[in-house]
Each structure stands twice: as C-alpha cells, then as structure tokens.
C-alpha cells in the first residue's frame, strides 16, 4: 500500500546539518500522524535521521538509498 505523503523535502545537494534542519522545520508544520518524505545526498544522512527520530520521538517509517539518493519517510509524533 503506497504511503500517503503529506509533505516532501528535497534536501539533495545540501550538506550537514541542513537536511536535518529542513526536516525539523517541515515537521513543525505537520499534524500528528502525518508523513514527511525527505530526499538527501549527504553521506551522513542515514545515521543522522535515525538519531534525530530517536531523539525527537518521531517515527522513522522508511529509510532507503538508491543511486546515491537517500530517501527517508517519517511520521510526525
């Protein structure tokens, strides 16, 4: 079943900490339960996103990489 993404953040080409900063900014505007998709190319992304979600309590629903582009889907708590 495809996920219903409420908002997408394109952080491709941005280096640390901007992917996380943009994500945190976007999450502020979401209602609880809504999904956010983030695309990034920063190599540290995977660990950063897992750590950010763990710390802030937002659920990391999907984490994948394809062709150098990382894709994260998280659910606003």
């Amino acid at each position: 079943m495809p996920l219903e993404i409420a908002q997408r953040v394109d952080a491709k080409g941005l280096s640390c900490p901007m992917p996380i900063v943009k994500t945190a900014q976007a999450v502020k505007g979401l209602a609880s339960g809504q999904l956010l998709e983030v695309l990034a190319t920063d190599a540290g992304s995977t660990k950063d996103f897992a750590a950010w979600c763990k710390t802030t309590g937002n659920e990391l629903v999907e984490s994948s990489v394809e062709g150098g582009v990382y894709r994260f889907v998280l659910r606003r708590k």
Binding site: G13, S15, M18, I20, V21, A24, Q25, W52, T55, T56
Partner: protein, 137 residues
C-alpha cells in the same frame, strides 16, 4: 538530553565559525537549547559592518584547505551566519556578547548584528549553562 548546549566562541575564522554554526543548528534541530557566548575574535565577526565579510581560515588550513573550503562554498554550503539564522528560527538559540570582550575590543551593543541577543558576563553565562556541557571553539 534536557540540558542546554553551551558554546563559547573565541575564534573568528570562517572555518571555526562554520563549525560552531553547524553544532548550533544540529542542537536546535534536536530541540536542545543553545547558549552562545561570544569572546574576542568571534565577537568581532558579529559586528554588523562586517558579519558577511570573509574572515579567512585557521592557519592549519593552509592552501589546500582553503581550496577545499572555497569549493564547498561554491557548491552551495550556506555561510556560517546564515546557518545560525536558520538555527535561531528553528529552535532556542541565545547569543550573548561577552562584556569583557566588548570593553577590550571597544565594541558598542549598537555595533552588533541583530543575531546577538544581548551582552552578559561570564557569571550569567555559567548560570544559564546549568549542568549542560560547555564547548570552547
């Protein structure tokens, strides 16, 4: 994880200011309060008449380092003051000028960019730092 992150910024080179800005933005994104204390050359960098000027790099960068940093900037990395502005919008970031450094460098509060929230002494800084870590850059 509830204690603030406290950064004392002493160096005013672009590389160290960028490192400080990245650490600030990262903390702000995690919902942690950041208290910044500006001393000496970092304080000078926040003068409104020169905040966007290049400040050069630490001696250890050398020519090779300078080329790499220039390439990163060209690739679109935001300058340190822009990263700090975004961090402030995102979370709780308080930037204070060290009153002693203001005296030594003969800087008035009006000379400082609006990014700076006020002037305080080391005692107030320690009080606000609470049990949080203090990092000197």
């Amino acid at each position: 994880m509830d204690e603030p992150i406290n950064l004392v910024l002493f160096s005013g080179t672009d590389d160290k200011l960028q490192a400080a800005a990245v650490m600030t933005a990262g903390a702000a994104a995690l919902g942690r309060r950041v208290n910044i204390f500006l001393q000496y050359w970092a304080l000078d960098a926040f003068r409104k008449d020169r905040i966007t000027a290049g400040r050069g790099l630490s001696a250890e960068a050398g020519q090779a380092g300078a080329a790499l940093v220039a390439a990163a900037a060209k690739a679109g990395q935001a300058p340190w003051h822009e990263t700090l502005r975004q961090a402030k919008e995102l979370g709780e970031v308080d930037i204070q000028a060290c009153s002693l450094s203001m005296d030594v460098l003969k800087i008035e509060e009006d000379d400082l960019d609006p990014l700076v929230d006020g002037v305080e002494g080391v005692t107030a800084f320690y009080l606000n730092a609470g049990d949080g870590h203090i990092v000197f850059i």
